[in-house]
Symmetry: C2
Subunit: 198 residues, 2 copies
DNA sequence: CCGTGAGTATACAGATCTGTATAGTGAGCG
DNA sequence: CGCTCACTATACAGATCTGTATACTCACGG
């Protein structure tokens, strides 16, 4: 029931440097705009090594996105562990995590959404990774909302999802200042009125 | 005060076919993944003609996005003209327009957001077009919200913006069914409670 | 009737793309 | 010692990328 299966490539030090360089370049310039020669050069590695480890550029893309997904989930888990136990505060902690993540990882929006824009085929191995993260986020929001207003969990979870995704876009495109703060405040209001009239 | 200036290329029939083919290919496969040879072939035009009209691939990208922007604004204006004059109904008409537009134009999300993901340089001539459309949408939402609750126009406009952008992403990635319907309903609730307690 | 402009057809330049081949180095280990 | 493994260095294959050059057709307008 995991998000993906395979992906059993040995992460040698050189492979880690490749994934690191690819992650930065893919995110900043886009996947198709970055060639394997550049990735190898930035990683301080020959193309031979790169292909020995990953086998194809497509596999590098998959490793990039899977790693990004795992990092985000761990990052979010840390924020949730540090949050107060009250359910509404835990929801707000998700928006705080999104904000902190975006500030730390650059302002080009969501890696998954950006990758999706460059992948035409739904049979691409990176596809389930992208969709999986969004479904997982919706499930998380819905679960947290269910601890506040069980019979409105679906509606609230979806609304929180829209606010968070909207904030990610607004942050990346600099539409207005502090979109995560705004989304967080709107989420707070939403949960307050939902919890007050059960 | 217009969004852009130049863009004075003569749109001959062949040029129109080029822009049409490029628009479809760019949106479905991504900008960097599509070459000018393919665009010319799909448009039934030689590369000579393509370069005589546009001069560069970059210019084709700009024309693609400017045209998309103009089409969307005209499309939205038609929906707003057909909507009831009551301000809340006009806000909901924006979400209906987004829904109809997305249904008609494919499920790869927002052209502007996708293009932004592939453009690294902020000095790219397409940049102001992308940012311009989002700022314009925020201004529209804020103006419409101002006719309902003037002293909350900014807050409501921004929240409506997040709901709409979030729905665009959720629709493109198929996160849950009918995100525009959901966003529209949440907007309705938001405007009702805002209008009721001035 | 002659020039202009939009278009076709084809070939090519030079760079860059993904991916592979050959040959060799050096460290760890049984 | 000898084997494996991670890695370097270099060259190249074949395709595709953006962009240009040459030579031609055809319609229209002064």
């Amino acid at each position: 029931m995991g998000t993906t299966e395979l992906r059993r490539i040995t992460m040698t030090p050189a492979a880690l440097r490749v994934r690191e360089a690819a992650a930065r370049l893919f995110y900043e310039r886009g996947i198709h705009a970055v060639g394997v020669d550049l990735i190898a050069a930035e990683a301080g590695v020959t193309k031979k090594t790169l292909y020995d480890r990953f086998g194809s550029k497509e596999q590098i893309v998959v490793e990039y996105l899977v790693d990004r997904d795992e990092r985000w989930r761990a990052f979010l888990a840390r924020h949730l562990d540090a949050a107060p136990p009250e359910p509404p505060a835990r929801v707000l902690a998700v928006f705080d995590a999104s904000h902190a993540w975006s500030r730390a990882n650059g302002s080009k929006g969501c890696s998954m959404v950006n990758a999706h824009a460059e992948i035409s085929d739904a049979s691409h191995p990176a596809y389930p990774v992208i969709i999986g993260q969004k479904k997982w986020m919706l499930a998380l929001f819905t679960r947290l909302a269910g601890e506040i207003a069980p019979d409105e969990a679906d509606r609230l979870g979806r609304t929180l999802m829209l606010l968070n995704e909207g904030a990610l876009v607004a942050y990346g495109l600099n539409v207005f200042p502090d979109p995560f703060g705004h989304a967080r405040e709107q989420a707070r209001v939403l949960l307050t009125t939902a919890g007050d009239r059960p």
